[in-house]
């Protein structure tokens, strides 16, 4: 969509963007460029000096099997948390969109998870899913060892994924609902006249028509699994057991901030940033091309 009506002014637009540009330059670009520099040097933790090493940090990262395991794990985490959350949110949105009596109540509750911080949810779920206490503890009493995120890496990953998925239901739900409500009602009515029952209309009409929203959410969710998983993992597992819940962001934090390997972490940051930028570009091409109805 191109605008037609613009203002012409040489100075004003720059004055308007100045505050944000300044903030972004100071708090984003400056630090980021510093990290970029570290990626090509070996930076002493205490800042005493550094040594230019070219792409050594990158080759070290890429030749580390554990790094690739983290990449794969991030992908699994990203895809499954996204899938679980979106499927649940979409299902709820589809049914809420039917607008039956009392729906408003459900609708408002479904947004709740949005309000919660990852650490809070992490703490709550850690308790709920703790193998010796809480809810799941009961299950373990019956079948000992069936659920043990403390020692079983797979269980731990599942736990974090469930929690992440739950946490983003609210956000996804709101956007799905918004997308559904933008579909003109007459399209559903046309479907009804064409003989399609509600379930069929969901599949044939509503789902394809919210494809742009779905795509938008898909990318946003995947980005969020890269960027927002930190607090969750930090409160739930701290990357363990044995690094089995260590995703890319966490590993960067772990290696850099905790492991004092600023350079290796910086190289990883750059890889991560490139991935996220790539995803965002793909997404952007789509957001701008929403379906226009009639």
């Amino acid at each position: 969509m191109e605008r037609r009506a613009y203002y012409r002014n040489r100075v004003l637009p720059w004055l308007l963007v100045a505050p944000q540009l300044l903030l972004v330059l100071v708090f984003f670009y400056w630090p980021t460029s510093q990290a970029l520099y570290w990626a090509f040097t070996l930076e002493q933790p205490w800042g005493g000096g550094n040594e230019w090493v070219g792409f050594d940090n990158f080759s070290a990262v890429f030749s580390d099997s554990r790094y690739w395991a983290t990449v794969v794990r991030s992908a699994v985490y990203g895809v499954s948390a996204t899938a679980i959350s979106m499927v649940i949110a979409l299902t709820l949105a589809l049914f809420v969109d039917r607008g039956l009596r009392g729906t408003k109540l459900f609708q408002s509750v479904f947004i709740w998870p949005y309000a919660l911080a990852a650490p809070v949810v992490g703490v709550a779920f850690r308790f709920i899913l703790s193998p010796e206490a809480g809810m799941v503890g009961a299950v373990n009493l019956v079948w000992p060892g069936i659920w043990d995120p403390a020692t079983n890496g797979t269980h731990a990953l599942i736990m974090v994924i469930i929690c992440h998925a739950w946490l983003s239901i609210g956000y996804n739900f709101v956007f799905f609902l918004a997308g559904l409500q933008m579909i003109p009602r007459s399209i559903s009515e046309a479907g009804a006249m064409d003989g399609a029952r509600p379930a069929r209309r969901m599949l044939d009409l509503q789902l394809p028509l919210i494809a742009p929203t779905t795509f938008f959410l898909l990318i946003m969710n995947i980005i969020s699994t890269f960027t927002d998983s930190f607090a969750l993992i930090d409160t739930m597992t701290e990357g363990g057991p044995i690094g089995s819940t260590e995703v890319m962001v966490y590993k960067i934090y772990e290696n850099g901030f905790k492991g004092l390997d600023y350079s290796g972490a910086a190289a990883q940051s750059i890889v991560l940033m490139l991935i996220v930028i790539a995803l965002t570009f793909v997404q952007f091409k789509w957001v701008e091309r929403r379906i226009h109805y009639a």
Partner: protein
């Protein structure tokens, strides 16, 4: 205290939390109340690791505290940082006379430069111990306390048979007690070059020492249900399990002796002992644990004066005694220890047993492998070993393979560290 205006404020960051953190706050208050010139601001950073990380970040930003508490493992990181003022120099400059010889040799050797200069102020020193629930021991008919791991195995088995769910609490992230101290008391090397004391090019060797057998044994114990996993991750730490009498044996720092005394379940009886030995070994001294206080560069003379005054305050016998009383940390000087012993401090509960920590630390003069560990980014190496222990225990990875891998990764860490500090030497 007098008006805040005139006082020089300086910060002290430390890595203890909970009960121990509250004691530090008490101590800071005492210091502030004791004189009118300085005001120390004590900030808890929760854990040693956190404190090291935050201190580094702050130092890079030139917003660091004057004094920071760095644990044993972070010593080399500090030594090479060039970011500190050696404590001896600081005290001398500010006119305090300290008898450095008076410090336990194990402690001095851990925190000194190769030339013997003490770099940081010894503060909360500890070593690893083993704690027993004596009720449980009695129940299985064991007299006294087990002194060897095979005795531990025997009593654990007996306890299990008696219906105790958890004979030994095992926290696989407890690398310090299960690995480092084990290696020390059996005089096993952790790394070449005298555990790194002789150069940054040291390589770890733990995959070739007695530790391989020990881990194999731990795995066996775990599989039989004699060792039970207790950690933060399961929602109950080994120490919690011990004070709640859920687990009967735990290995932990002497520092926890005070806490256990306060938290142990009512009516529960327990005791502490030096770490058990493998059969056929004689004990060498254990490593000094805990942490020391480092004075960071880039502060004003006034602040340094304050820091020096604070150190002098810590070194006062009555202050050292108080600290050892309310925590389980040992007195760090020979004279301090002797004085307390003479007072009969260690003769009765609740302090009885703490003298064993000193006995452990001073069992023999420090050897090449027991004077300490000088490895770069040692926290990261500890993490590798913790991972290896978990791989073995939880995922049934063959012991040798797990330790070989951990050693390989540890050596990578060391090489990276060496390269980062290329040209720098230990001095």
């Amino acid at each position: 205290a007098t008006s805040g205006e005139a006082r020089t404020k300086f910060e002290f960051w430390y890595g203890l939390s909970g009960d121990l953190s509250e004691r530090i706050q008490d101590m800071c208050k005492t210091f502030n109340d004791s004189q009118a010139d300085y005001e120390i601001v004590c900030v808890s950073q929760e854990t040693y690791e956190n404190n090291l990380q935050n201190t580094i970040a702050a130092f890079r930003a030139q917003k660091h505290p004057t004094v920071t508490q760095i644990s044993d493992g972070g010593t080399l990181d500090l030594m090479l940082s060039g970011a500190y003022v050696p404590v001896r120099e600081l005290m001398e400059k500010n006119g305090y006379q300290i008898d450095w010889k008076n410090y336990f040799s194990g402690i001095a050797s851990y925190y000194s430069s190769p030339s013997g200069e003490l770099l940081s102020m010894p503060f909360n020193s500890s070593t690893a111990m083993i704690y027993y629930n004596t009720d449980a021991l009695k129940a299985v008919g064991f007299e006294g306390l087990p002194k060897t791991w095979s005795e531990v195995e025997t009593v654990a088995r007996a306890m299990k048979a008696k219906g105790y769910e958890c004979p030994v609490a095992f926290d696989p992230t407890g690398v310090w007690q299960w690995f480092e101290q084990f290696s020390a008391i059996h005089n096993q090397p952790i790394a070449t070059k005298g555990n790194g004391y002789e150069g940054l090019d040291a390589e770890v060797t733990f995959n070739k020492t007695k530790f391989v057998d020990q881990l194999t044994w731990i795995k066996k114990m775990y599989d039989e249900g004699l060792f039970v996993h207790k950690s933060k991750a399961v929602g109950e730490t080994a120490n919690d399990a011990f004070v709640n009498a859920k687990c009967q044996i735990t290995s932990s720092s002497i520092a926890d002796h005070g806490t256990f005394g306060k938290q142990a379940k009512e009516g529960m009886h327990w005791d502490v002992s030096m770490l058990p030995l493998l059969d056929g070994f004689t004990r060498t001294n254990s490593l000094v644990g805990g942490a020391s206080l480092w004075t960071l560069k880039g502060k004003s003379e006034e602040e340094y004066k304050g820091a020096a005054a604070f150190y002098a305050f810590l070194a006062k016998p009555e202050q050292a005694e108080w600290w050892s009383t309310v925590t389980g940390y040992i007195p760090v000087t020979n004279s301090g220890f002797e004085a307390m012993k003479a007072k009969g401090f260690y003769d009765k509960a609740p302090y009885k047993g703490r003298e064993l920590a000193i006995a452990s630390l001073t069992a023999t003069p420090p050897t090449e492998y027991t004077r300490g560990v000088r490895l770069g980014n040692f926290n990261a190496i500890r993490k590798e070993i913790a991972n290896a222990m978990q791989e073995v225990v939880f995922n049934n990875k063959p012991v040798q393979q797990a330790l070989d891998e951990a050693a390989a990764r540890s050596n990578e860490i060391l090489r990276r560290f060496e390269k980062t500090y290329q040209g720098k030497a230990l001095n």
